[in-house]
């Protein structure tokens, strides 16, 4: 990607603002930010009386652990599912939309810098 395409000045105010945030370190910054937020949320669990319908809900960090484990499980399990059910795009031949291009007459493909 050429740098010209990512000059914030070429985008709208909002797009430019968002583009400024998206530098090469954005993934690393997000990771640190999320780690801090998660830590704060975990500490919060010690500051109030937890209650729930089940005892397990009263464990500190229970929902956090659930979120992390479930998400990781889903991502890793779908890799195996993909091996089983993934097929080429033309699998159903012409009777499917998957390998078709969307009709040009029904859309307005316009670049952001065109008038």
């Amino acid at each position: 990607m050429s740098d010209n395409k990512n000059k914030s000045a070429e985008f709208s105010f909002l797009g430019g603002m968002m583009n400024k945030l998206d530098n090469g370190n954005s993934m690393k910054v997000s990771l640190i930010f999320l780690a801090i937020v998660c830590l704060i949320l975990f500490i919060c669990d010690f500051t109030y009386k937890k209650y729930g319908h089940y005892h397990i809900e009263e464990l500190q960090g229970f929902y956090g652990l659930c979120g992390f484990v479930i998400f990781s499980f889903i991502i890793f399990s779908v890799k195996f599912l993909k091996l089983l059910i993934n097929r080429p795009e033309n699998f159903y031949s012409s009777k499917a939309i998957d390998h078709e291009t969307y009709p040009e007459s029904q859309i307005e493909k316009v670049d952001h810098d065109s008038n």
Binding site: C38, C44, F71, K82, D113
Partner: protein
């Protein structure tokens, strides 16, 4: 009451569709498309609760206007969805799509106010017929076949409903549409009919097959009505039917995995829709006041945030010509407002505090725990984290952020932005002020969603899941999206059955040809003999025709008498 006071709201849509056919001017057409749902919703609010319009048809008392708290809230959200969908589609000049859109939404509204099963059946089929044009309007071969498959399944659902209604009428002598139990074949068929439209597991794939095949605007409109009509029908007909709890929980779980590996983002949303329907179905199955309130409020919120997500992805399709995850990324730079609307939809469906999903889904989860469905509750927690994976992260991240595709499309047209903006505001409004929604629910609500415990727990679930996503992305372990499709149950009727039929035909065709040849020879013998005896100069043609007839009548009479004597 005067006729205008009890004028069914669905008739406004039929009237609107007829007027639409007269005018060619785009502005007038758009005015009709936008005013019709506004007038209808105003009319719904002005009507008292009760059974307001009965019509006698072939000895049946049809109840066209049953307004109670359950039907009213569905009627209102359907009108709202029709308004937003039509606003989003304001650039269209396609008469077929515009008329289909009005008739489809009108039919869905008619169905929710139906007080009897025959009226329900008529509107049920009308939704199927009107909506298929939103798929065919795409105008490609693939869309034609997808539309045909959709129509066959939807009409099939209607036929199941009709058979069920006839059996129920034979058993009970009543066609009233009220609570039923699964104690007869009739009610079982009705249940199955609702299940097809509600995309029960194994009956679900019409949804993922057809919605991505519709036009940019058609999918937005489709997403609001058919499945939520089925949710309404189940909530009306089968509340507290325990099997729905188990059906619903399966619905929440399996689409998570399919959505995660799907490349077509509108199909990802179709799987996500299936997953959200599961929460509603669980609520119906539990059948308490709390859970039914949860189902209805979640359907209300869901129509809005799902429409918002379909609108955002549709806007990207409109501007780039694709909605494949493998071809998108980084377009937030030039479509920032659409990206923000998408993020609001994603936050709502993921049930972030201050967004609509948080205040509606928690009603269902709370009801599940209160009724001691421990495993189901755990599965719903799993599904809640799963929703974040495909709708909360995958849709916005791979469409607008992620790896830069190099595409720099123009921001969505203004009318699309306005439609998305209004929908986004509603998602936030319900999230921060659930008290505006709760009074309209079927039962009184005594539920406080914003407690420290609930907010922190939910934030933990979501932020730790987000952390997992970021770690997985950082390590490069997230599955790569590539141009491909995934097999689902439609493989059975799109590949397996045609392939097996072809093999069977090849196997039996020699024998079949022999039989056909034999029949041809047999036919020629018959013809030859008929000509011989009845043709010019034949023995029997010399007899007067009346005499022949009398002869045969006598023979048949003799045979009949002999048979009755023997038996």
């Amino acid at each position: 009451m005067t006729l205008i006071e009890v004028f069914p709201p669905s008739f406004y849509f039929v009237l609107g569709a007829l007027i639409l056919l007269i005018f060619q001017n785009k502005k007038i057409r758009n005015l009709i498309l936008l005013v019709t749902p506004i007038v209808a919703v105003w009319h719904i609010f002005s009507l008292p609760l009760g059974e307001l319009l009965e019509v006698d048809l072939f000895g049946f008392q049809l109840e066209l206007m049953r307004i109670d708290k359950l039907s009213r809230i569905f009627g209102v959200i359907f009108c709202l969805a029709a308004f937003l969908g039509n606003l989003y589609a304001a650039h269209l000049k396609d008469t077929i799509q515009q008329v289909a859109s009005l008739l489809y939404s009108g039919a869905a509204i008619g169905a929710v106010f139906a007080g009897d099963l025959i009226t329900l059946f008529i509107y049920w089929e009308a939704t199927a017929i009107a909506s298929v044009f939103l798929i065919w309007a795409r105008g490609t071969e693939g869309a034609y076949y997808a539309g045909m498959r959709y129509l066959i399944i939807q009409i099939g659902s209607g036929l199941l409903l009709l058979c069920g209604v006839l059996l129920v009428f034979r058993e009970t002598g009543s066609i009233e549409f009220n609570k039923m139990t699964l104690n007869s074949i009739g009610t079982l068929l009705i249940f199955l009919s609702f299940g097809v439209k509600c995309a029960f597991p194994l009956l679900h794939n019409w949804l993922q097959d057809s919605y991505p095949a519709a036009t940019v605007t058609g999918t937005v409109i489709l997403s609001a009505f058919t499945t939520k009509l089925a949710v309404y029908a189940l909530a009306r007909g089968f509340p507290g039917t325990e099997i729905l709890v188990y059906i619903g929980v399966i619905m929440t779980l399996f689409p998570i995995f399919f959505a995660e590996i799907e490349n077509d983002l509108r199909r990802v949303l179709a799987y996500s829709l299936n997953n959200q329907l599961g929460f509603m179905v669980v609520g119906i199955g539990i059948g308490t006041e709390l859970s039914l309130n949860g189902t209805v409020s979640h359907a209300f919120a869901h129509i809005l945030y799902k429409a918002l997500l379909f609108m955002a992805v549709g806007a990207v399709l409109f501007r780039t010509g694709t909605c494949k995850a493998s071809e998108l990324g980084g377009i937030y730079r030039t479509m920032p407002r659409t990206a923000i609307f998408c993020l609001i939809g994603a936050a709502s469906i993921s049930a972030f505090p201050l967004f609509s999903g948080f205040v509606t889904k928690s009603l269902i989860l709370d009801a599940t725990a209160k009724e001691h469905y421990t495993v189901i509750w755990a599965a719903l927690i799993f599904a809640s984290a799963g929703v974040l994976s495909h709708s909360g992260i995958k849709i916005p991240y791979f469409t607008f952020f992620g790896q830069d595709s190099g595409l720099r499309p123009k921001e969505a047209p203004v009318h699309m932005q306005i439609a998305m903006g209004i929908t986004a505001i509603l998602c936030i409004l319900i999230g921060i002020m659930p008290s505006i929604l709760y009074p309209w629910l079927p039962y009184p609500v005594e539920f406080i969603p914003y407690t420290t415990n609930h907010v922190i727990s939910q934030l933990q679930l979501l932020f730790f899941a987000l952390l997992a996503f970021t770690v997985i992305m950082k390590l490069g372990l997230h599955p790569k999206d590539k141009r491909s499709i995934n097999l689902d149950t439609d493989w059975v009727y799109r590949k397996l059955i045609p392939s097996v039929s072809k093999h069977i035909y090849v196997l039996i065709s020699p024998q079949l040809n022999k039989i056909i040849n034999g029949l041809v020879v047999f036919k020629s013998i018959i013809v030859r003999n008929l000509v011989k005896y009845y043709g010019p100069g034949g023995h029997l043609s010399k007899i007067w025709p009346t005499g022949t007839m009398v002869l045969w009548v006598a023979i048949l009479l003799l045979a009949s008498l002999s048979l009755s004597f023997i038996t």
